[in-house]
């Protein structure tokens, strides 16, 4: 079940050191890379069906093409702000195979004609970004990066400082420009992102780390894994009430229950499974009875009313309190809202406060209705998708576990 495309060097000792990495295939895609024209590479990525691995799942090739077509100085910004609860995969790449990421950055920059890349790492990941910086320094030293490289790419590691919303790509660019991380209004026509008004490609760490494999082995070999619409692999993760929480790379289309049982070691202490949040805290919760035949791909999860997100599964056992779990997540949303637009700023706080009444078993029938209507006001009326995600979370919990909330009504 485990497939080692992005995670192939994770278990090798000192894999972050360039000599070890080189022995294990680092930078081996560069010859193929430079033998192709940039547009060919964009076409390869498009054909491979590579989708963004930061939670959005947008086709990478489409974004590359938009950035490449737009006139101006091009920037590549790698989103390493990984703050989605239940997600801890990008950190593995940063500290266990940073050279794979660097190789992917060189390839992506070459494809979109960029010479400058910024890796925005969340502030809390200091120890991992130190390893990343060490690897980057070594890469400069060995002339894979910098003016003396075959294709000049400069990489700057830029640390965030504790804001989940800076993982939203336009908020990330605002933060990179020296501002508060406020997401930007979305354009009305397809358009690349902009860093100081120059066209910019923003991609997740794992997405970029997947590029060397595709460059070296071709689009079709990526398609050998996964499903037709969700090709390739993902560093899925599992945590919560399981025996072996961790990051295990599998192809899309793997069965969720199989993943949880075989790789996650099954529910801890022999308890029964109650619910799974499939892809990080922003995806709607799924009760155990719906999970039996679920496959881990974008389409399947969308069809049953949830989403793949970042693929970070959170497992709740039969004794986990659903009301407490929702409170936990709404507290997270309340804390992380940037505060820019009204529905999110007020809605995330209000819904968090209402949950306090449920926790205290002091709620009224009206509180439940209000919770539903607050969720509705946060959906589709905001600048970014943070509030709609919170809305989806609330709706998911209320849809599948209403009885537990009704028990809290006095």
């Amino acid at each position: 079940m485990i497939t080692k495309i992005v995670s192939k060097n994770f278990d090798i000792k000192d894999s972050f050191k360039i000599d070890v990495a080189l022995k294990n295939g680092a930078y081996s895609s560069l010859d193929t890379l430079f033998s192709k024209k940039p547009q060919e590479l964009i076409d390869t990525i498009t054909q491979s069906g590579l989708r963004g691995k930061g939670g959005g799942g947008a086709l990478a090739g489409g974004k590359w093409q938009l950035a490449s077509d737009h006139k101006g100085i091009k920037y590549l910004v790698v989103n390493a702000d990984e703050s989605e609860p239940g997600t801890f995969k990008d950190r593995r790449i940063l500290s266990l195979d940073p050279h794979l990421l660097i190789e992917g950055i060189i390839a992506t920059c070459y494809a979109i004609a960029s010479h400058s890349s910024y890796i925005y790492v969340r502030g809390e990941y200091e120890e991992f970004s130190d390893v990343l910086q060490f690897a980057i320094d070594e890469a400069y030293d060995r002339k894979y990066l910098g003016v003396d490289a075959r294709y000049r790419v400069d990489i700057v590691v830029h640390r965030g400082a504790g804001a989940y919303i800076c993982g939203e790509k336009s908020a990330l660019l605002e933060s990179l420009e020296g501002n508060r991380g406020h997401p930007r209004l979305k354009p009305h026509t397809p358009s690349p992102e902009f860093y100081f008004s120059e066209p910019t490609l923003v991609n997740n760490v794992e997405t970029i780390a997947s590029v060397p494999f595709i460059v070296k082995n071709g689009a079709e070999s990526y398609r050998e894994y996964g499903t037709e619409k969700s090709p390739g692999t993902l560093l899925f993760a599992v945590s919560g009430n399981v025996n072996s929480p961790g990051v295990y790379e599998v192809p899309f289309g793997t069965g969720m229950l199989e993943y949880i049982e075989k790789l996650g070691g099954g529910v801890k202490n022999g308890k029964k499974l109650k619910a799974v949040i499939p892809g990080g805290a922003s995806t709607p919760i799924l009760p155990a009875n719906l999970i039996k035949d679920v496959k881990l791909d974008y389409e399947n999860l969308r069809d049953i009313g949830s989403a793949l997100g970042t693929g970070g599964m959170i497992v709740l056992d039969e004794d986990a309190s659903i009301v407490k779990a929702l409170k936990n997540l709404l507290r997270f949303y309340h804390h992380e809202s940037c505060g820019q637009c009204t529905p999110c700023r007020e809605g995330t706080a209000w819904s968090d406060k209402i949950l306090d009444k449920f926790i205290a078993k002091d709620a009224s029938r009206q509180d439940l209705e209000v919770l539903r209507s607050v969720s509705n006001s946060m959906n589709g009326k905001t600048i970014c998708v943070f509030a709609p995600a919170a809305s989806g979370v609330i709706d998911g919990f209320l849809k599948h576990f209403e009885s537990e909330f009704l028990e809290c009504i006095k």
Binding site: H188, A349, W350, S377
Partner: protein, 447 residues
């Protein structure tokens, strides 16, 4: 091109902003963060409209018109959206209406009456923030009343470029503030009070003085300098008291001041309340003096065109040497509204060819017995030895002069003035008559 708005056809042009088209065609679109002079920010979400073909409601302030666009601002769907956004704006709003100066001109009140009228469903504690914070420059901040439209922040960062205001904190703890130990301090600071759609930023000068629904307004022009910013004079007269001017508000003029005033000009309303209250001199006494030979007059360069013409004719008729002097301050003018020329109608002085040479004036004074001051600041407090000084004053004045006559100020004597760019503008008086006569009426009596 044509748009369909609420089933009515509206004319507009390529590249127009939907909210501007709607507002200028009388379609009520509630909004907080959008402002004609500050642009769109897209954070309040109040201006959402339904556009055919769009899955979700769109904010009108960030939508450009397209041929054949069909917009609804009154459908059930969009009305519910507006109501729910308003509910969220009001959720943590303190119930301060009874003590808030904004009452009567508050967008939250207006929108609640138009789109709200619901019962509060709040059953959890409200978020508390700072109240009555003195920001400096006569501006008071109440963070709880704020809807975080960021107009004030954008004003200080984009327009005055002084950057004193900003948003601190995050989420529902976000609030407007100045940095610790810093102040709001620029020559246009009080504009944020007018920009603020709610009672978060209020004028310390106006605080608790008057309920706005008791105020009358008249269109006027600021006389603080030669820019001629357009204003509304807000005034009223309560029982047993004299008429009082309470404040100036900016009146939109896209050729001159957009919707802004400098603080100096904004607060210059106080001069209008500083009227002459002592006993005026006898008319006959002046007529006698006019028989003397050596007469000189100094006229204020802030008089209206009509007043200046009257003084000019009068002086010609009575053989009085007429002068005027500039109100000039090198340090006052700036790159925006304020001009070094602090008179409001110097252009007319020049048009009438009235002498403004200071040496000539001083020489002429030395040579005269009678000095008539038509409200000019230069002679309002000077004591000239051996001269007989006659004051025509629109403001208070010590009675140490031979003769003093009080005249109506520009709030009670409509006319026109010409600004520094040669634009002639009309200003109008309040609906109350001044107890002091208008200058031209007085001059008539001296004939």
């Amino acid at each position: 091109m044509k748009l369909l708005v609420n089933n009515t056809s509206i004319e507009c042009a390529e590249g127009d902003l939907l909210i501007e088209v709607l507002l200028s065609n009388g379609v009520n679109v509630p909004h907080f963060c959008y402002h004609e002079d500050l642009g769109c920010d897209g954070n309040c979400r109040m201006c959402m409209v339904e556009i055919k073909g769009s899955k979700r409601p769109q904010i009108a302030c960030d939508t450009f018109v397209k041929e054949g666009m069909e917009v609804s601002t009154i459908s059930d769907n969009i009305s519910e959206v507006k109501r729910s956004i308003l509910e969220l704006e009001l959720l943590n709003h303190p119930v301060d209406c009874a003590i808030c100066d904004q009452a009567g001109e508050c967008k939250l009140q207006d929108y609640y009456m138009d789109y709200g009228l619901y019962d509060s469903k709040l059953s959890t504690p409200k978020t508390k923030k700072g109240k009555h914070i003195d920001l400096g420059s006569s501006v008071m901040l109440d963070q709880e009343r704020c809807v975080l439209c960021t107009r004030c922040v954008r004003f200080t960062s984009d327009i005055t470029k002084t950057g004193e205001l900003g948003v601190i904190g995050r989420g529902d703890g976000a609030r407007i503030a100045v940095a610790p130990n810093r102040e709001l301090s620029n020559d246009y600071a009080m504009n944020v009070v007018e920009l603020c759609p709610v009672g978060a930023l209020t004028s310390k000068d106006f605080r608790f003085k008057q309920r706005v629904w008791f105020l009358d307004s008249t269109k006027s022009i600021c006389h603080g300098c030669s820019r001629g910013c357009n204003i509304d004079i807000d005034y009223n007269q309560t029982k047993y008291t004299a008429e009082k001017v309470h404040r100036f508000r900016a009146r939109r003029n896209n050729k001159i001041n957009q919707s802004f005033l400098c603080d100096y000009g904004r607060l210059s309303y106080k001069e209008l309340n500083d009227t002459f209250t002592l006993e005026v001199s006898n008319i006959e006494d002046f007529k006698k003096i006019l028989n003397d030979e050596k007469k000189i007059a100094l006229v204020s360069p802030s008089f209206s065109c009509e007043q200046l013409q009257g003084v000019y004719d009068f002086c010609k008729d009575k053989k009085i040497s007429l002068f005027s002097l500039k109100y000039y301050d090198d340090n006052f003018g700036d790159e925006w509204l304020k001009t070094n020329d602090m008179s409001s109608n110097f252009a007319s002085i020049q048009n009438l060819d009235i002498s403004t040479n200071k040496e000539d004036f001083l020489a002429s004074i030395a040579d005269s017995n009678i000095v008539i001051n038509f409200d000019h600041k230069y002679l309002k407090t000077k004591y000239l030895q051996d001269k007989r000084v006659i004051q025509f004053t629109s403001s208070s004045c010590e009675k140490n002069y031979e003769l003093v006559y009080a005249i109506a100020n520009f709030a009670h004597d409509s006319g026109s003035i010409i600004n520094c760019d040669g634009l002639r503008q009309e200003f109008y008086s309040t609906k109350f008559t001044d107890k002091n006569p208008r200058l031209l009426e007085l001059l008539e009596e001296f004939r």
